[in-house]
C-alpha cells in the first residue's frame, strides 16, 4: 500500500530541489473513474498528488510530450531534471526510452511506485454507471471499494482490474532512483491466451473483424500521442513528403495507419495499454501490439523495456534467426 503522505513528502522534497523542473504524477480528476495526470512545478502543489486504483495513466508519456521550445538568444536551455512517478508498467517505458536515447538517465529522477493494480474505467462504468463526480477508489483485499456521488459501492478486483493488471508481471518498477513504498508480490503471468484465441480465426474472419474496428477510427491519433514510445519529431503517419498514409479516413487508410503504428511499436511496445484506454471509439488496439509482443518473444526471445543495456530489436540480428517462411 502506498502511503500518500509519504508520497507527497517525497514530492515536496524533490520539487524543492534547485535542479528539478517538474514532477509528473497523478492527481484527482474532476469527474469519473480515472485520475488526472499531474504535472507539478512547485513544492506547494505536492499535496495534489494521489496514488490509488484510479491512477491508470502512464506518467512516462508526459516526459516525451513536453515540447522543446526555441531558446531565446543569450539564454541557456532549461536542463533541470524531470521527476516522474512510475508504476511497474510505466517504468518499462522509462527503460525503453533510455534504450532509445530519448534523454539521459541523469536528466530524470524516477520515483518508483509499487502497484497492486488499477481500475478499468469501462468495466467500472458498466458495473456502476457513469458519473460526473470524481470517484474515489480504495483497494480492500480482493475488492475495490468505490465512493460514487457519495454512495459506497463494491466490486471484485478480478472483474474490475484493467486487463494489463490482470496479467501484470512487473508490479514493481524496474528502474528507479527511489521507491516510495515497499515492493509488492508479483501475481500475474502472461500466457497470451487471448492472442492464441484470436489466431484461430481464418484470414478473412480476421480481416472482417479489423475492418469493422478500423472503420470506427476517426484518426484522432490519441493512441499514438499517448504512447510513451511515440515521440518522433515527424511521424511517418502524418508526414507529407512522402505521404505514406493519407490523412483522409477510410478503411484502407485507417488500416494502413494501424498497421504502421503496430509495426513501429513491434519490439518497442512496453504494454502499458494506454493506446487502447484512450481510444474514443473502443478499438482493441492492444490486440495488435500483444500479437507483436508475443511473436517478438517467441521468435527472438526479446522483451523490450526491461533492460537499459539492451540493443533495439530491429537494430540487431542473430545469424540463427528463424526463417521458416523464406523461400
Amino acid at each position: 500500500m502506498v502511503d500518500e503522505k509519504k508520497l507527497r513528502e517525497k514530492a515536496k522534497e524533490v520539487l524543492a530541489r534547485e535542479d528539478v523542473r517538474r514532477l509528473i504524477g497523478w492527481k484527482r480528476g474532476t469527474y469519473g473513474y480515472e485520475s488526472a495526470p499531474a504535472v507539478l512545478k512547485d513544492a506547494s502543489e505536492a499535496d495534489e498528488l494521489i496514488f490509488d486504483p484510479t491512477c491508470v495513466q502512464n506518467p512516462a508519456s508526459f516526459i516525451t510530450l513536453e515540447e522543446k521550445l526555441p531558446v531565446p538568444r543569450g539564454q541557456d536551455p532549461d536542463t533541470r531534471k524531470v521527476a516522474v512517478l512510475v508504476k511497474g508498467c510505466d517504468s518499462r517505458a522509462v527503460v525503453q526510452q533510455l534504450v532509445e536515447k530519448a534523454y539521459d538517465r541523469d536528466s530524470v529522477i524516477v520515483l518508483g511506485v509499487p502497484c497492486t493494480g488499477v481500475v478499468d474505467r469501462r468495466k467500472a462504468a458498466k458495473m456502476f454507471g457513469d458519473t460526473s463526480e470524481p470517484v474515489l477508489i480504495k483497494e480492500e483485499g480482493d475488492k475495490f471499494v468505490f465512493t460514487i456521488d457519495g454512495e459506497t459501492r463494491e466490486g471484485s478486483k478480478a472483474e474490475l482490474l484493467a486487463d494489463k493488471c490482470v496479467r501484470c508481471r512487473f508490479p514493481n518498477p524496474l528502474i528507479y532512483d527511489e521507491l516510495v513504498a515497499d515492493e509488492v508480490a508479483v501475481w500475474g503471468a502472461d500466457e497470451f491466451a487471448d492472442v492464441d484465441e484470436f489466431a484461430k480465426m481464418s484470414p478473412p474472419e480476421k480481416w472482417k473483424f479489423w475492418e469493422e474496428q478500423f472503420s470506427k477510427c476517426i484518426r484522432c491519433y490519441s493512441c499514438r500521442n499517448v504512447c510513451p514510445m511515440c515521440y518522433c519529431l515527424e511521424c511517418v503517419v502524418t508526414k507529407q513528403k512522402p505521404q505514406w498514409t493519407r490523412r483522409s479516413t477510410d478503411v484502407s487508410e485507417n488500416t494502413a495507419y494501424h498497421i504502421q503504428r503496430a509495426w513501429h511499436l513491434s519490439g518497442r511496445c512496453i504494454e502499458c495499454g494506454e493506446c487502447e484506454r484512450v481510444c474514443p471509439v473502443d478499438i482493441p488496439i492492444t490486440t495488435l501490439n500483444r500479437k507483436m509482443t508475443r511473436d517478438v518473444k517467441e521468435m527472438f526471445s526479446y522483451e523490450p523495456g526491461v533492460d537499459v543495456e539492451a540493443e533495439p530489436l530491429l537494430s540487431c540480428y542473430n545469424p540463427q534467426d528463424p526463417e521458416e517462411y523464406i523461400m
Binding site: A199, M201, P203, F209, E211, W263, L314, D321, I326
Partner: protein, 143 residues
C-alpha cells in the same frame, strides 16, 4: 474467384544477388509469369516493411522481398536485418487478416536464375489461391 483473375506481385530485389539472379533468368531465357513487377533496391536491408503494406494498399495481390543468401550479403548484414523485419511484418499482416501467402521472401543468389523462376511461380500460385486483394485497396484509386 473469377477465372481471369491474374494476381499482381510487387517484388523488391537486392541489386547484387536477386536482381542479378533475375537477370540471369533472362539471359538464360527462363520463362516465368509476367505477373511480377520488380523494384530494384541496393540491398534487401533497404526494404522498409511498410513498403509491403503500401504495395498491398496500392492493390498488389502479393509482395516479395528477395536478397542474398544469409552470410552472402554484399553489405555483410543487410539481409539479416531484412529477415527479422520480414518475419515480424508477415506475422503482423497475418494478424490483421492478410493471407500469409501474399507476403513472401526468398534468398536468390546471382547464380540462381532457375530458383528465381521457382520463387515467382510459387509466389504467383499462392496469390492466386488467396484471391484478389481488393479489400485493402486505396478507395480513392477507384476512378
Amino acid at each position: 474467384m473469377s477465372e481471369e483473375y491474374e494476381p499482381n506481385i510487387v517484388a523488391f530485389l537486392c541489386n547484387w544477388c536477386s536482381y542479378a539472379g533475375a537477370d540471369l533468368a533472362g539471359t538464360s531465357r527462363t520463362h516465368y509469369l509476367p505477373n511480377i513487377k520488380i523494384i530494384r533496391v541496393m540491398c534487401s536491408g533497404r526494404v522498409n516493411p511498410l513498403f509491403l503494406v503500401n504495395a498491398l494498399q496500392q492493390g498488389a495481390d502479393g509482395v516479395l522481398i528477395s536478397g542474398c543468401h544469409p552470410g552472402d550479403c554484399h553489405y555483410l548484414e543487410g539481409n539479416f536485418y531484412a529477415r527479422r523485419r520480414f518475419m515480424l511484418m508477415r506475422k503482423l499482416l497475418e494478424h490483421v487478416g492478410v493471407d500469409p501467402g501474399r507476403v513472401n521472401m526468398s534468398w536468390v543468389s546471382a547464380s540462381e536464375g532457375a530458383k528465381f523462376k521457382e520463387v515467382i511461380d510459387e509466389t504467383v500460385a499462392k496469390a492466386k489461391e488467396a484471391g484478389p486483394m481488393d479489400q485493402f485497396r486505396r478507395r480513392q484509386l477507384n476512378w
